[in-house]
Symmetry: C2
Subunit: 374 residues, 2 copies
Amino acid sequence: MNNKDSVGIVEPSSASFKDPLLLECGKELKGFELVYETYGKLNNENSNAVLICHALSGNHHAAGYHKDSEKRAGWWDSLIGPNKAIDTNKYFVVSPNNLGGCHGTTGPISINPDTNKIFGPNFPVLTVRDWTNSQAMLADHLNIKAWHAVIGGSLGGMQALDWSIAYPERIKKAGVIAAAPKLSAQNIAFNEVARQAITSDPDYQEGNYLLENTSPKSGLRLARMVGHITYLSDESMKSKFGRELKEEKLGFGFDAEFQVESYLRHQGDVFSDTFDANTYLLMTKVLDYFDPADEFNGDLMKAFEPILAQILVLSFSSDWRFSPSRSKEITDALIGVKKKVSHIEIESSLGHDSFLFPEERYVEVLKAFLGSPS
Amino acid sequence: MNNKDSVGIVEPSSASFKDPLLLECGKELKGFELVYETYGKLNNENSNAVLICHALSGNHHAAGYHKDSEKRAGWWDSLIGPNKAIDTNKYFVVSPNNLGGCHGTTGPISINPDTNKIFGPNFPVLTVRDWTNSQAMLADHLNIKAWHAVIGGSLGGMQALDWSIAYPERIKKAGVIAAAPKLSAQNIAFNEVARQAITSDPDYQEGNYLLENTSPKSGLRLARMVGHITYLSDESMKSKFGRELKEEKLGFGFDAEFQVESYLRHQGDVFSDTFDANTYLLMTKVLDYFDPADEFNGDLMKAFEPILAQILVLSFSSDWRFSPSRSKEITDALIGVKKKVSHIEIESSLGHDSFLFPEERYVEVLKAFLGSPS
């Protein structure tokens, strides 16, 4: 723990749901566990709750530390805490690990009650709507009738948007950050390379690697490396690494010699040690499938008709994964159906990952948007 | 053969060099073979020769057909031929397979005369300058004192640029198309993912797959898939595939279901059937290492001092692999040292691959630039 402005030591909770959850794929989960963390206090009116939605590889540990010795705080600690953008002195912040995750919530590494074996590759393919529905059950469990706000970046922003469509009465504000109304063919293509890297690893064992006591680490490592490139901007990579060599001279061999090579290998190694491959596959599919306009013949305005929430769409200038023009698609459709929306583009050189960093204007915009709980 | 404007049936030639070639890595090739094709006729003054330099996965088969039954013409057939941009009625076009290649020229799949075994992973790591030097030996072999032009796209453009630096007296015009003065950290990062995909394939066998009777097809396939994404623009992928599904409904599984997924898998399959993995690794390293300014403390103008050739720098609006701004770096440095340069940006939605397609303005610009042999 190395951060005085943090929420401090936090402990995850778990909610157990016995009722079956009908999924969009047509299958049913007989019951499930959601692991989550909370920061700050729920007020007497239960009106100050803010739901945090995580992205592809995130989890419930968004702020604070699990123990004193933990070196890195939760993934959004720079924005969640006392007096921070998402101010835990004002809000009761709820951060779940999504269904299908690998950090405690029911997912591919959980036991399938039908077979008493690990789900593995048989865990159903999910959608953002499935997550929204399960998060609504968590809201019930916590006696939260309506969220003051639902906020997330990237895939998290898609959840915030979906909340405003699926449960218009239960969400006052939606913070849709660094997101898109659906993936582009290029986005899907990058996800497909990641999936192929995992499933073509011989240790993937058709998804049954845990039963077979293997681990498709090599494939997961590649998947993360390619993903990581899309999270950074060309500019941020340039300022971070340029063409700096590890040694003074070219090696004329295939060891990592440019610093960006070592960095990527390291990122891949760390990730593949801690993340479940089937969960990763699942999360990429959730991304690919997100397309609220699909059931309206591609008409995003129709999809947005039910929305009552006030919506903040935030994009970052150097984000090429979900570029500002993708945010503009969301904004334009919301304007088209006269919804309460503002779109702010933040100047940042950090690419898609910008949403993780507390750039001053970004923080101010979030603070102003969240305002005070009624 | 399905193209009447083609150079028709062509037959590759081979030049055998007995003299040793000292490489930039410090090693020596005792001798080597260069496979090449020629189109058109060398004039009496030997002044109409045009050298074509291929890119990462290209080879000497740039135009025409090897036999009547061949379905696809050479890789630049749309630009090389009678009355085409590179007009074989006017020029004697020479198109070699680069050293380190896998289509007949000495490379990793050749026999190492020192060991009488396949070079495999022991083939020396090359640089663009090594290629330029070997191509100069080919020019000698063909009695070509000076090229009317050296032209290439992508890595081929880097060779054209290097020719103008290394042999200023032997090149009248250089066509530097869709290139960059050096790779960015992001470019290197994509290459690194490709290399890791290949070398982490268990069938790679530390590069000795041919001896071990295996083939790192799975890694090479992934490498090609990720490369392919960078050759296309987001826009061209959108118009080619959008989010079209192969079947009418989402499959909620991991079979290829978006058309872009099948396309990428197919591209990867075809490529991994026909290309050598060690050659691919080598080619990515040649790209990473290209940096003519390096020996001048990063001063590109200094590197360009020796140039005498007239240079055409061509970029394409939707190319994000080597964006127009990278071409501008080349142009600005050439202007800085008062060289004969023009820079044209072609509007095209086809991304980096634009250089392969005969867009009208592109063709006209090339024709005007090449002019008439003196």
